[in-house]
Amino acid sequence: MAKNDLQGTLDLLILKSLAQTSSMHGYGIVLHIEKVSGELLRIEEGSLYPALHRMEQNLWIRSTWALTETNRRAKFYSLTPTGRKQLAIAEKSWEQTVKGVQAVMRFA
């Protein structure tokens, strides 16, 4: 599968995670996805930050420095209105992909 699609998937996961919570730092996003997916999905942490940066450049998310529960300074990300629109688009495209793949898998 093309690299773009994987990247798109990561974008989708991040956007969705941020939509489900108010705001999260990068590590939090990793934990969130692991937990919610029942440990099925594990985000490659090295590629998380480039993705976050790119999404921020695209104005889908915004960031702010804040303190964590353990009093550590971390960068918290939250969704922008543009990001919400992008999430809707990405979700739709994902559903199409899933449908398509499933159709292929079920073909007898």
């Binding site: 730092h25 942490e45 590629s47 480039p50 450049q57």
Partner: protein
């Protein structure tokens, strides 16, 4: 918005860097804490966090890469990186930039000259509409022309004034030299004489006062009103305002200055300038055979050049019949009637320079272009060598995830940085080069006025050259480098990769290119030098050294035209009596300086042209021209005795083959002022060159000055003076003597040989410049070859080490290395010879005394290159032979 945020990001780059760093640190710290909380030892917790995160540097770079991929910032970053790299190898950078600056500078300088002489439009309104009216194919020696720009006679101009439908306006003009101040101590100034519509048709506005208009034509011959050029106004009149009372004395006439021409207007002759412009004086009696004006006009909007030409062609018959000069033989008259007028574009003016230097400048541009090409090949090789030493660096970049495109871009930026720096320096250098060239072009007497401007065309040219340069010398190494396999590169470390053989052949290819191109340049240089030498050492058949030419004008002496000849003889005797003068003679035509004077003759049943000169008896002694048969002129040849002539060998060969020429007769055909005359041939002289060193000797006839037709006499004479004293000394002595006895006579002297040499300026320039560039090319080839052979030796260290260990002798090793150079030389020389033969055809017309395919020249150039190649490869070969086999092998 996005762009804004990116631009904003640019301005706080370093803080963003810190941000990313800190964010990732926090991430790993949190993971570590969680791990510890889950029961891991601190060390394990840390390791697990790092493992999960992957390479933080790569991640950071990747984050930055997202910004960087987006444009400006990355460019700036790459440029800074490149500069840092060059700072580490300043020698390479300096060599590259200087080579490029020289190459681009030389190219731009020549192009600037070419642009000024050839391409640029006149500084007038809508220059593309300006057309020049000329006789198609020229007047072929008919009548008398007073300059190269004067293509038409006054009666023809009057005809054109009556019929010029395709043109909205027409004017006639001529360049002239007039005397400013009193005749005895006045000085010559350059003027243009123009008809009333000149300035209005060109669309030129005065800087001050007004320009010449139709209302000024009436007083043109008696009290002219003139316009001064801007440079004259600035330098001679101090830029003071023009008032109605500003008058000057010009050719003994009181003239009023009415205005100043705008600064950019230099006239219509490119490379020349004028001091003043006066209305064209039309004398009461017009010489109908005198071609002394040029006619131009502005094309009407709906007419094209072709249509206009067709129009003038169609009405030519009537015009030329109406303008027919009288007194010519019927044959010549017929020739005149058959002339046709044509319209030619004059958007870039007219120029003698163009005729003389056009081809030379194009050839020089090609030469400098080739030098630049060699320089590029050299730089490409240097870059390749540098690239192989940097292979590890590139491998690391690529291993860290940099894409090929990224690496490629970085390398291209590095080479364009050099190219741009070189181009900027080159453009600055070009200004200096152009000025030096202009000084060289302007031979002592006539200065050349060209405005050398760095206009958009020149800048565009320089930019194109720079980008081509960059593309040529930067792309290849960049491509090769970005292709290298990072793993192999990392493993072998010093860049001895498996692909080396292939890359190597590219470098060889470039050396071969350099050798072949420099072969072309060397052949060119040799041809030009030998051509110049041929001209310098050519024996024109007459004495050149120790000859001074004096022109004497005596319009104010009030001598009766019937006694001109007598007066000239007296002048000649006075000159002859000056101590130091060994011989002196008068002549109507100064040889070798470009003039020509001829008549059509009938010899027996044959008919054809012959050059004619009227001389006093001492002519042949003064010029040391040997008499082959018959007698020379003497005092008994007077205006009342039978007309006699002495002819040259070519004349005899052409018209009197197999006959004893002495006693034969020749008859000239009638021309205005020169009635048909019968001459008896009394002598034959040795052939001499005629109007210039080039070209074959035409049939020539000499007649005694005493028999020069009275109708053609004028108040001036040319005296040729032979002396063993320096020209300046003898000139002073004669000036003093003539000044004492005839203060009203205008005199002007010049050294004969010097003038001949001045006329070889183009050949000299070509010889000097092409040798300079040829030598530069050879030097570049030497450096390039040295570089590649050294490189080769370094690469083959092991192999050479093994050979030595196995018992190869030093001389065998030297032979091994030099054979390699020899093979490149052989291929390069072969290609070079082929290219030279092709290129030589273009230069053939400006060579003298040898053909472009001159085997000796080719052989010499090849030999010279062989010496260079031997010199360049011997040192590395010698070093290879000194190699200590154990050290060489241990290094592996």
């Amino acid at each position: 918005m996005r762009l804004l945020s990116r631009l904003w990001a640019l301005t706080r780059r370093s803080s963003i860097d810190r941000d990313i760093e800190e964010e990732m640190q926090a991430h790993m710290a949190m993971r570590t804490e969680d791990n510890i909380a889950a029961g891991m030892s601190e060390e394990n917790a840390r390791r697990d966090a790092r493992l999960r995160f992957g390479n933080p540097v790569a991640a950071k770079e990747h984050v930055e890469g997202i910004d960087l991929a987006l444009g400006v910032e990355s460019l700036w970053r790459d440029i800074r990186y490149a500069i840092r790299g060059y700072r580490k190898s300043p020698l390479f950078a300096a060599v590259a930039i200087i080579t490029l600056a020289l190459g681009i500078g030389a190219n731009t300088a020549i192009f600037q000259l070419l642009d000024a002489v050839r391409l640029r439009s006149l500084p007038i309104q809508r220059p593309h509409e300006l057309v020049d009216l000329r006789i198609v194919g020229g007047n072929q020696g008919f009548g008398v022309s007073d300059s190269q720009y004067s293509q038409l006679t006054r009666p023809l101009w009057q005809e054109i004034q009556r019929h010029h439908d395709p043109l909205s306006g027409v004017f006639a003009w001529r360049t002239n030299q007039q005397i400013l101040g009193s005749i005895s101590d006045g000085r010559r100034i350059q003027t243009i004489n123009v008809t009333g519509d000149f300035f209005s048709v060109l669309g030129i506005q005065p800087l001050q006062g007004r320009l010449i208009g139709p209302e000024d034509e009436a007083a043109a011959c008696t009290a002219p009103r003139g316009v001064v050029s801007y440079p004259y106004w600035q330098s001679q009149m101090g830029g003071r305002p023009i008032t109605p009372g500003t008058t000057i004395l010009i050719d003994n006439l009181q003239a009023e200055i009415i205005g100043v021409a705008p600064p950019e207007f230099f006239g219509l002759a490119v490379g020349e300038s004028f001091d003043m412009a006066f209305p064209l004086c039309t004398p009461r009696t017009i010489s109908r055979e005198f071609f002394d004006v040029s006619v131009m006009g502005r094309l009407k909007p709906d007419w094209t050049l072709d249509r206009a030409s067709a129009y003038f062609g169609s009405i030519s018959k009537g015009m030329f019949e109406a303008a027919l000069p009288t007194g010519y033989s019927s044959k010549s008259t017929e020739q005149f009637k058959n002339f046709r007028l044509g319209a030619y574009s004059a958007s870039s003016g007219v120029s003698n320079l163009r005729q003389d230097y056009d081809k030379s400048l194009w050839i020089l541009l090609a030469i400098t272009g080739l030098v630049l090409l060699i320089a590029c090949a050299n730089l490409a090789n240097l870059m390749l060598a540098r690239a192989s030493s940097r292979q590890r660096e590139v491998a690391v970049c690529m291993a860290l995830g940099a894409s090929r495109g990224r690496v490629l871009r970085q390398l291209l930026i590095e080479s364009s940085l050099l190219a741009v720096t070189g181009a900027v320096l080159g453009i600055a250098l070009a200004q200096a080069f152009s000025r030096v060239l202009l000084l060289a072009f302007a031979n002592g007497k006539d200065s050349i006025h060209l405005s050398i401007e760095t206009d958009w065309r020149v800048l565009l040219f320089a930019a194109t050259v720079a980008s081509l340069t960059c593309a040529i010398f930067g792309t290849l190494p960049a491509f090769r480098m970005s292709k290298s396999d990072p793993i192999t590169a990392l493993k072998t470390g010093d860049g001895r990769t498996s692909g080396s053989r292939e890359r190597f052949s590219v470098q060889r290819l470039m050396v071969v290119t350099q050798i072949s191109v420099s072969m072309v340049l060397l052949v060119g240089a040799l041809l030009f030098v030998r051509s110049f030498r041929n001209l310098m050492t050519l024996n024109p058949g007459m004495r050149e050294s120790g000859i001074t030419v004096g022109t004497f004008g005596f319009p104010l002496s009030h001598v009766d035209p019937a006694h001109y000849e007598e007066f000239k003889r007296r002048l000649l005797n006075e000159v002859h009596s000056v101590p130091g003068v060994t011989n002196a003679t008068t002549t109507t035509m100064i040889p070798l300086l470009g003039g020509s004077w001829g008549h059509r003759v009938n010899v027996g049943s044959m008919e054809g042209p012959s050059q004619f000169t009227w001389v006093s008896p001492g002519y042949f002694q003064t010029f040391d021209i040997p008499l082959i048969a018959g007698r020379s002129f003497n005092e008994n040849d007077t205006d009342t005795s039978p007309h006699v002539a002495i002819v040259n060998q070519t004349f005899v060969r052409t018209y009197l083959n197999d006959v004893n020429p002495i006693g034969q007769t020749l008859r000239t055909q009638a021309e205005p002022k020169y009635p048909s005359t019968l001459f008896e041939i009394v002598g034959v002289v040795h052939d001499t060159k005629y109007n210039e060193l080039r070209g074959d000797t035409p049939p020539m006839a000499f007649a005694p000055a005493t028999q020069f037709p009275l109708t053609a006499q004028g108040p001036w004479t040319v005296v040729i003076i032979a002396s063993n004293l320096p020209s300046a000394t003898i000139t002073e002595a004669i000036k003093r003597k003539i000044g004492d006895t005839h203060p009203e006579i205008r005199v002007n002297f010049f050294d004969f040989q010097q003038s001949i040499h001045d006329r070889l300026l183009r050949e000299r320039l070509m010889a000097i410049l092409s040798s300079f560039f040829g030598a530069l090319a050879a030097l570049l080839v030497m450096v390039g070859l040295y570089g590649i052979i050294s490189y080769l030796v370094t690469r083959r260290r092991n192999e050479i080490g093994i050979r030595i260990a196995l018992g190869a002798t030093r001389s065998q090793i030297i032979g091994l290395v030099m054979r390699d150079a020899a093979s490149m030389l052989a291929i390069g020389a072969l290609i070079g010879t082929t290219l030279s033969l092709l290129a030589g055809r273009g230069a053939g017309s400006i060579l003298f005394g040898l053909k472009p395919y001159d085997p000796a020249t080719l052989a010499f150039a090849a030999a010279f290159l062989a010496v260079i190649a031997a010199l360049a490869s011997f040192l590395p070969a010698f070093r290879a032979a000194q190699l200590n086999p154990t050290t060489a092998l241990r290094c592996e």
